[in-house]
Structures are given as C-alpha cells and as structure tokens.
C-alpha cells in the first residue's frame, strides 16, 4: 500500500511550491506604493481598449515617478512615494477576475487596485473588495448599478456611469433636429449593454413620447459576428440605431455594417464610439453621432492639462489618445489626489486605506477631460462634463469630429440618491444645463 507515501509526496510538493512561491512574492520589498492595474491585455477588447488604456497609465505613472507632470500633479509619484504598478489581464470573465483580485490583495499585498473596463467585472469585484478591505478604484466600467444598488466603503469610481452617455445622446439628437420617430438598438447581453439601452430608450421616450422602439438586439459580448443583427436592423427601417458596443465588438460591427450601407440608411449613434478611431482610421464611417464617455480625444476641452496630456501621449505612441488612456489617467489622478489629501491630514506619513477612503469621498479634481466630482453614491461615484459630436471627413480625407455639443456634468447626471432610470423617468428634475 503506497497511499501513505503518496501523501508524503503530496505534502512535500505542496511545501516546496509554497516555499518557492512565497520566496518569489516576498522578494520585492514594500517601499513606495504598490498598485495593481487590471485591464484587458488579451482578447478582443485588448487592442482597441485595454492596451491603449494601459499605455496611457504606464506613461503617466512613469512621468509621475519622474515628477514631470504639470501642477497640481507635480509631486513625485503619489505624495512622494514611488509607484510600482502590477498589470493584470482582465480577460476571462468575472469569476476569474475575483480570483485575480484576491491574488493581488492577498499575495502581492498591493496598496490599491485600479481597474475594470467590463461592467460585469465591476458588478463582481466591489463586494469582494469590501470583504478584503482593499482600496479599489474602478476607472472605466459604465453600469450605473454599482453604487445605485449597494454601497461600499473602499470602492470608488472616478468616471461617470453610462446614464450620462445615453441621456446626452438623446438630447443631442433632439437639439440637432434628427428624426427620432423610431429607434432600434444593438447592445451586448450583459450589464453594460442592457443598462445603456434602457437609459437611451427611456430618455428618448421621455423627450419624444411618440417615438417607437423597432428592434432590441442583445448579442453576446465578444461574439464578433453581427451578420444577422445587421440584417434585422436594416429590415426594421428604424430612423436611429443606438449601440453601446465597444472594443473589438465595435470594430467588427463597423467593418461588417459599413459595406452593407447601414450607416448611409440610418442615423447610427455610438455611446462609446471614439476609442476605435485610432485603430480604424479612415475606415470609420461618416455621419455617425458618437460620445467618448466624457470629453476625451477629439472632443477634449482646450485646457493646459489636456494639451499636455494629448501631446505627451501623441509623442510617445504616435496616435492620438482616445477614451481609454484618458480614463486610466483620470483614475490615477483621483487616487493621487486622495492620497495626497490624506497625507496632508496625517502629517505626511503613508496613509492607510481608511485614511485614503475618507479623503476620496466627495473629492473634486481636474483631469484632461474636465472637472471630476465624486458626487454620487455618497461620494464614491464621479460625475464629469460630457461632449457629443458627429463624424465627418475633413478636406484631407481624414475622419474627424465636428458639431460638438458640450454638456455640464449636472445636466446629464442624476443628483445624489436618485437612480439614473428613475431620474430619466421623472423627466430629469433638477438638471442644470
């Protein structure tokens, strides 16, 4: 009977792997500020979204560590502490992300985690973050439900949620006199797609009660093939087609729908449409109404901070920054300001997560995309100004954005304590435009 010996082998292998791995993970000491960064590094969302976001983040962290960022971000690193970033791939689904998150917090003992593009991940991570008491900054994901359905102590989102994108597009369509008598939508079948469509269709109904919904399509996320959906949209003859597709899905959709003439036949609106522009270049269709989920890229405001960021990114990577790098930098700026605010209070020591969380609540900071205010979800959820535009070919044949309308943050975001959908249904009470 060799069972006992097998057990001994099992035990010793566990011990050996344990010693090696504990050795590895404790090798780097605990100076400075350790930051876990989670974004798509593989899969269909990597090339148009995750990688540019991380490129922006990497560049910004490098410049921060060298102290080369203009005021008010001119302190080195985070309040003088050198930032060490640990990038992690976001692909693989929410369950895998929960595990990666635990690894970052428990094994790498990071001081904070900045991450998450997918709304599915943003729904899964916060409860674990609070359970492990880990400071977490959601930098991009859109579903309004994160802080509407629950509240968390250590979780913050430094970007506005998706309600703003869809409310602003509905307003834009009406202001510019587009025909919205019938609408159709193609959105991914998960939190982001469903919430985006709900916010858009309800907003349109509210602003123009006579408009009818022709078609609601919900393909699976990352499905990449939209032949049947495009046929359905063409047949529905809706005046406006709304889509919150993003990343590789949006690229595929554009490339498959353009030759079939969808963009010529109907007015297409993309609630997050700019981040595939660097990749598609002149293949991007004309006459599309798009948002960038904030004043980013070609719709960025003309401020010193934005000029500095636009130029730094352009010089480093040779393409203009679209939504993703703006978003990640916005998250890093928020975290930096919260840390430095906490350090002012505690006399310059490295603040703990409770001190940072307290400082983060209700924080306001300038970003390349405008003023970010942590106003919703009791100071955990940001609002920010927004811009919507229409694509057009300029005289050199390059696709660019014109007809830009800017919206105040308080015009397209609900006030604190009211759910986005309820606010839309109530007819946007208290909107300050």
């Amino acid at each position: 009977m060799n069972f006992f010996r097998q057990c001994l082998i099992l035990i010793s292998s566990i011990l050996i792997s344990l010693l090696t791995f504990v050795g590895i993970s404790n090798a780097d000491g605990h100076k400075g500020f350790k930051l876990g960064v989670v974004t798509f590094l593989s899969g269909p969302a990597a090339e148009p979204f995750g990688v540019p976001a991380w490129n922006g983040g990497k560049l910004f962290i490098k410049l921060l560590n060298e102290g080369k960022v203009p005021a008010p971000y001119n302190k080195k690193g985070f309040g003088g502490m050198k930032i060490t970033a640990i990038p992690i791939d976001e692909s693989g689904g929410a369950t895998k992300q929960v595990q990666e998150f635990r690894n970052l917090v428990q094994r790498d003992k990071v001081d904070a985690v900045l991450g998450y593009v997918s709304s599915g991940d943003c729904m899964a991570i916060p409860s674990v973050a609070d359970e492990l008491k880990a400071l977490t900054v959601l930098y991009d994901c859109g579903t309004p439900r994160v802080f509407e359905d629950a509240s968390y102590k250590y979780v913050f989102r430094t970007a506005a949620h998706a309600a703003m994108d869809n409310i602003a597009i509905a307003k834009y369509l009406i202001e510019k006199g587009h025909d919205i008598s019938s609408i159709a939508g193609i959105n991914q079948n998960y939190a982001w797609g469903k919430d985006s469509w709900k916010d858009f269709s309800v907003s349109v109904k509210k602003l123009s009660p006579s408009s009818e919904i022709k078609n609601e399509l919900f393909p699976k996320i990352f499905s990449g093939q939209y032949g049947t959906e495009i046929s359905a949209l063409m047949n529905s003859k809706a005046k406006v087609v709304h889509s919150s597709l993003w990343g590789g899905d949006l690229q595929s959709f554009i490339l498959q729908a353009k030759p079939r003439g969808l963009f010529k036949r109907t007015q297409v609106v993309f609630s997050a449409g700019d981040h595939v522009m660097p990749g598609l270049g002149n293949k991007y269709p004309e006459g599309v109404i798009l948002g960038a989920r904030g004043q980013y890229g070609m719709m960025a405001p003309d401020t010193e901070l934005n000029k500095w960021f636009y130029k730094s990114y352009m010089d480093e990577y040779g393409v203009f920054p679209a939504q993703p790098p703006y978003r990640m930098v916005q998250g890093l700026m928020g975290l930096k300001m919260a840390i430095e605010k906490a350090m002012e209070k505690n006399g310059g020591k490295k603040p703990n997560k409770d001190e940072i969380a307290a400082a983060f609540k209700g924080l306001e900071f300038d970003s390349p995309g405008g003023l970010v205010q942590m106003k919703l979800g009791d100071g955990h959820q940001a609002i920010q100004p927004h811009a919507i535009g229409t694509t057009v070919k300029d005289k050199d044949g390059n696709i660019t954005v014109t007809d830009i309308v800017r919206y105040k943050a308080s015009c397209v975001n609900p006030p604190n304590g009211i759910k986005a959908v309820d606010w839309i249904n109530a007819g946007f009470p208290g909107a300050d435009c």
Binding site: N2, L10, I14, A94, G120, S127
Partner: protein, 319 residues
Amino acid sequence: MSEKLYNNLLFQSIFLMSFLILVGLLIPNWLVFVITKAIAYGLVGLGIITLMRGGLVSFGQGFVFGIGGYTAGLLGTQAGLTDAMLLLFVSFLFTGLVGLIIAPLLARYRDIFFAMLSLAFSMVLYGILIKIDAIGGSDGFVLPESTYFGIKPSSEYADYVLYVVAIIMTGFISILLRYYYDSTPGLIALAVRENELRVEYLGSSAFNVAVLNFTIAAGLGGMGGALNGIALGHIDPEFTYWTTSGEFVFISILAGYLSVPAVFLAALLLELVRSFSGRYFPDTWQLILGLFLILSIIFIPSGIGSFFKQFFDRLKKSK
C-alpha cells in the same frame, strides 16, 4: 500492529487531513485560497476519473459544476441559506439527483459520443443561464458571505474556515471513493473499460456501472461547483462553459486514474501555474499555460498518479 495502523486508509487520511489543516495556519491567506479552489476543481476531476475508470470521458462536467454552483448561490441569495457545509451537502445531493436523471440517457453512449453529448448538455445550460436576467444573466451574481453553524467568521479567518471545511468534507469523500473503487462495482468499472462485452456475458451490466459512475461524478462536480462559488463569492455562467469543462478534463489527464490524492495535486499545480503566469506574464499568460499543458502531456502521459506508482514500484524492487 503498528504496521497495520500505518497501512490503514482511514488513519492515513485523517493524518493527512489534520496535517493539511495545521499547515493551513502557517501558510499565507492567498495560498489557503488557492488550495481551496484546487480542492473544488479536484472534486470535479475526481468525478471525471470515476468515469474514466469505466472508460468514459465527459467533456461537459461544467454542466454539473454550474448546477452545483448555482444551487449553492440561489439557496444563498433566494432562500437565505448561508451555512457553507449545508450548501455543499445540498449541492452534492441535488446535482447527484440531476445526474441520476440524465445518466440513463448518457449511459447508452460511449467514447466521443458520450463526450459530445455531455458537452451539449453543458452548453445548453450555458445558453439558458446567460438568458435569465433574474439571476444576473451573463454577469452572474454575488453570493452572501457564508456562515458555519450560524457563526460568521471574521474576514481574516473566513478563507481558513472554508479551507478546513473543504478539507474535511473532501477527505471523507475521498476515503469513501477509495472504498468504492476497490469494491465489486468499482472493479467492474475497470473491467468494463477493458472489455465491455465480456462483462455483460459474465452477468454484470455495463449500463448500470455507467449510470452509477455518472451519478457519482455529477454529485462530486456539483459539490466542487458549490465550493468554488462559495470560495470566490461570485458565480457566472462561465462555470458551465466548455473551456471550464476542458480544464477538468486536463486535470484528470494530468492526474491519471490511479490515485486519488494525485487529482488534487494536479488541480493545485494547474491553479498555481495559471495564477503565477497571469501575475508575471500578464500579456502572454495563455502561452505559458499552454506550454505547461503540452509539456505535462508529453512528459507524464499517463498522469501524476502513474508517476507515483512507477516510483514506488521501483522502490519496492530495490528493497
């Protein structure tokens, strides 16, 4: 006498279990968590191995893994049942029952037909789960924190308590399985694997063996799914996706069907390789994982269990 005690399965297992429970106090929290996850995956792998002994491989264990996970999750969120041990046990029974219901259909098929049919079941479940918005659709949902006999451990110890529960429950299941493997029906499974026709001529039913093994595999898979869900605190339809099922097949191939502890070792290895390649090679972790799978199939084709066996056979000879 001492020699006998030494060789007693129960004694050995209890010794191993108490050792692992003690080790759990010394190792860092993340490793406790990784081992708990490995136990969950190992349980499903154990189910596949039970099937493999009868000559069947299921490509759709994600089906039972998902049912187990969703059973535990829904009982937790809808019925307010948060006792981890109870959830594990109920998931085990319920998934076993589901297994028993579909087993007669599956047990009529062999080889690739069995594998593909089981895969079909898991993908149908996947398709259904992503469409049900009431339970989160493709986002899945968050499980409430678990309790043990009505007590909710503080967050520092929650991982460890679950680890202990997992080790104890899995330990006893492993013992029972070892007895089952060495029992008459367990050995008939091996005979079915060798020559099904002859087994039938000798008066045993290969069909019954397949049904029994599938039911056991389903129960184990359900418990694994529940444990995985409870450990992570989140469940999504990815549990039933074919890539998840593929991982279970890989674990059982890596382990081989000769040894019970080898399954858990294989699951732990896979888990560690995956999590460290993700940490140190964030851009190319799939490549590292793939290389690991290829290398382990080339160098240990009949599994870690066989590697153990060879080693000890040689040791005996040299004595």
